[in-house]
């Protein structure tokens, strides 16, 4: 595995960045050096008060560093015009901070307006962004923030940060103040958006699970923003650098690794599926030929509709779209195996249906898929451990380490 911190051209480079607040004995951030590759999400994670927010705000200079440099795209921004700089860096804060006296459109269009875009261009951009974050522009454009749910506000906050299409986004616990279910959905949506927009994102959280889910790389920080480990989530989960990282990851690292494999990365199984408009004789034949006990019916647009068994098919008087059981436990390709496992546990047939972004049936994931994914990870770890052990054994110096 290549060293994660040495990729060719970092979008953001922090060089011995230090912040000492007046009247405090120790610096809040003590000389952090970090390269953030272009187009990736780098998560800063660490215990409360370790300086994550301070690091983030030094990047857009809401806080002026005591010493050190910030380079964005190779340019030192510590001396740039701070206001102009910030218009080209998206910023999402935990409190969201939507302006209550402005409509959704005014909020989202604020940065373009600051950049003196034309009215029509702003309006078009606002609609585009609202679409992107899954809010119908016609319905939400003219609403005020208090007329939105927490999750909707968070989406508007993200849309606003994307306002002028900044190459860099800073996100400070953006999904912190939301219930777990909505948070999970927003995280997934955000990853989907990121797959399209490919921003360079610095993402702060104190939740290691969120870090594992969102990060292309994770920097685990200890006090004063000293980096305990900076690596991919896989590497951190597989080989924590020290006891601090181990403690921080907590128990259940194996299960957490399920969060790292996405459904699109595993081979899908194929379940017998057919259109709800097929004639029953054909459906029965299809079911008989397969080794499964049920058949997945799809609608005109290939979207999963019902699970039906041979007995359901025999009920000739009932229309097909009413027999059997509704097709639940549906996941999209970007869902993690952990999500899929979750769904399949509640599914009647013991598998999760995979659909594409339009909701069209792609295949299924079952427990077998998950088990083999776990097996594979385990053997990866073993291979890596063996390599490390061999490397240590080779020099022959007997360090009395307890294994």
């Amino acid at each position: 595995m290549t060293d994660a911190s040495r990729s060719p051209e970092p979008m953001i480079r922090l060089e011995s960045l230090t912040k000492r607040y007046p009247g405090q004995a120790v610096p809040a951030v003590d000389g952090i050096t970090l390269d953030i590759p272009k187009g990736e999400i780098v998560v800063l994670v660490g215990p409360s008060g370790c300086g994550k927010t301070t690091v983030l705000k030094m990047i857009n200079r809401l806080i002026e560093p005591t010493s050190g440099r910030v380079l964005i795209g190779g340019e030192d921004v510590t001396r740039a015009d701070a206001d102009e700089l910030r218009r080209h860096i998206g910023y999402v804060i935990q409190q969201i901070g939507l302006f209550p006296h402005m409509t959704v459109a005014e909020n989202v269009g604020m940065v373009p307006k600051l950049l003196h875009w034309e009215k029509q261009r702003i309006a078009a951009r606002v609609d585009e962004l609202l679409e992107l974050v899954g809010l119908d522009p016609a319905e939400y454009r003219d609403r005020y923030p208090k007329e939105l749910s927490g999750g909707q506000r968070q989406r508007v906050g993200v849309a606003r940060a994307l306002g002028a299409d900044p190459p860099v986004m800073l996100m400070d616990e953006p999904f912190g103040a939301i219930d777990p279910i909505t948070r999970d959905r927003l995280q997934n949506e955000f990853l989907r958006i990121q797959a399209d927009v490919r921003k360079t994102i610095v993402f702060v959280t104190h939740d290691i699970d969120e870090a594992i889910k969102m990060g292309d790389r994770i920097a685990i920080l200890r006090e004063q923003s000293h980096i305990a480990q900076y690596d991919t989530p896989e590497a951190i989960l597989t080989a924590p650098a020290d006891g601090f990282v181990e403690d921080f990851i907590g128990a259940g690292a194996a299960l957490k690794r399920l969060n790292l494999t996405r459904v699109r990365e595993v081979p899908l199984d194929h379940w017998p599926a057919a259109s709800v408009h097929e004639d029953r004789a054909r459906l029965r034949r299809l079911l008989a030929e397969s080794e499964q006990g049920s058949l997945l019916l799809l609608d005109e647009e290939d979207r999963p509709l019902r699970w039906v068994t041979a007995r359901d098919l025999a009920r000739e008087r009932e229309p097909l779209h009413r027999v059997g059981l509704p097709a639940t436990a549906v996941v999209e390709p970007h869902a993690t195996l952990h999500d899929a496992l979750d769904e399949m546990v509640t599914s009647t047939v013991g598998c999760a249906i995979v659909v594409d972004r339009r909701g069209r049936y792609q295949g299924v994931v079952d427990l077998g898929t998950v088990t083999s994914a776990i097996d594979e990870m385990r053997s990866d770890v073993r291979r890596r451990d063996r390599a490390v052990a061999e490397a240590e054994a080779a020099p022959g110096d007997a360090v009395g380490e307890v294994g």
Binding site: L62, I93, G97, H101, M102, T103
Partner: protein, 270 residues
């Protein structure tokens, strides 16, 4: 509430009273803006009509006629309105920028001192300021305005500061974080969101000024206080009543207008 209508004849007056009282309750911050907007002028017109009927029913002597004739009353009302308007204008022009200034991060430490000075202005009784000014700089309109302004700066200043301070810090951070200048944040976020609190302060100043302007007559600046004073020194009840009632009506009318302005200027979405 209307009493059970067993005895119809006896209940009519009672029901009417109850209704008037209900209107007054609505006046004092009732829920429906319609009532607040329509109720006050109706009540005030009624009061004026009653006053007119009362004065007409009196047999006025020469002293009373000298005070209670249409041109004289119009002049005193206009003087009163002018005192109030000009002083409130200066209060706003002084206190709002000052309040903005002492809530900026760089000048925030001035806030306690400025507030203390404004507090002194208000804690001296208004008549005291008036007399003091008369002794020091003489009598007249400008002295009266100075006194009124000194007296009413505090509520506007304090409310401007409170109004700006209560704006959620995270909004300011969001604004700065997206590249708004400090000035843009002030003008587009802080001020609009502070408007309701600031207007409440201005409304208070207005009411204070209307009341205090009644004292301006003592330093020769006229106003409705003149009518009251005439009634007082000549011991003429109709004159005294007319002056007092008109002062109250003008005060309530201005407060009513201020209330409507408050309703109209409240930022949408909050």
């Amino acid at each position: 509430m209307t009493a059970p209508t067993v005895d119809r004849g006896g209940d009519v007056a009672g029901a009417g009273d109850a209704l008037a009282a209900e209107e007054l309750v609505e006046e004092l911050g009732g829920p429906s803006p319609l009532w607040r907007w329509v109720g006050t002028p109706v009540v005030l017109a009624g009061v004026c009509a009653a006053l007119y009927v009362y004065v007409q029913g009196q047999d006025l002597d020469r002293i009373e006629e000298a005070a209670l004739n249409a041109p004289m009353i119009r002049q005193r009302v206009l003087e009163h309105l002018e005192l109030t308007a000009v002083s409130t204008f200066f209060v706003i022009v002084i206190a709002v920028p000052l309040g903005m200034l002492v809530t900026r991060p760089a000048t925030r430490r001035l806030a306690p001192a400025v507030l203390a000075v404004a507090n002194v202005g208000q804690s001296i009784p208004s008549i005291g300021i008036l007399v003091l000014l008369a002794v020091v700089v003489g009598i007249g309109f400008e002295q009266a305005i100075t006194a009124l302004v000194l007296y009413a700066v505090l509520p506007v200043l304090r409310n401007t500061m409170v109004g700006l301070d209560q704006v959620d810090r995270s909004l300011i951070e969001a604004g700065r974080g997206m590249g708004m200048t400090a000035r843009q944040v002030l003008l587009r976020i802080e001020l609009p969101l502070a408007v309701p609190v600031m207007l409440a302060g201005i409304r208070t100043a207005l009411v204070i000024n209307v009341g205090t302007a009644a004292l301006a007559t003592f330093i020769g600046a006229g106003g409705l206080g003149w009518i009251i004073n005439q009634g007082n020194i000549h011991d003429r009840t109709p004159v005294l009543v007319t002056g007092s009632v008109l002062t109250a009506v003008v005060a309530l009318a201005l407060d009513w207008i201020a209330g409507i302005v408050e309703d109209l200027l409240r930022p949408k979405g909050t």
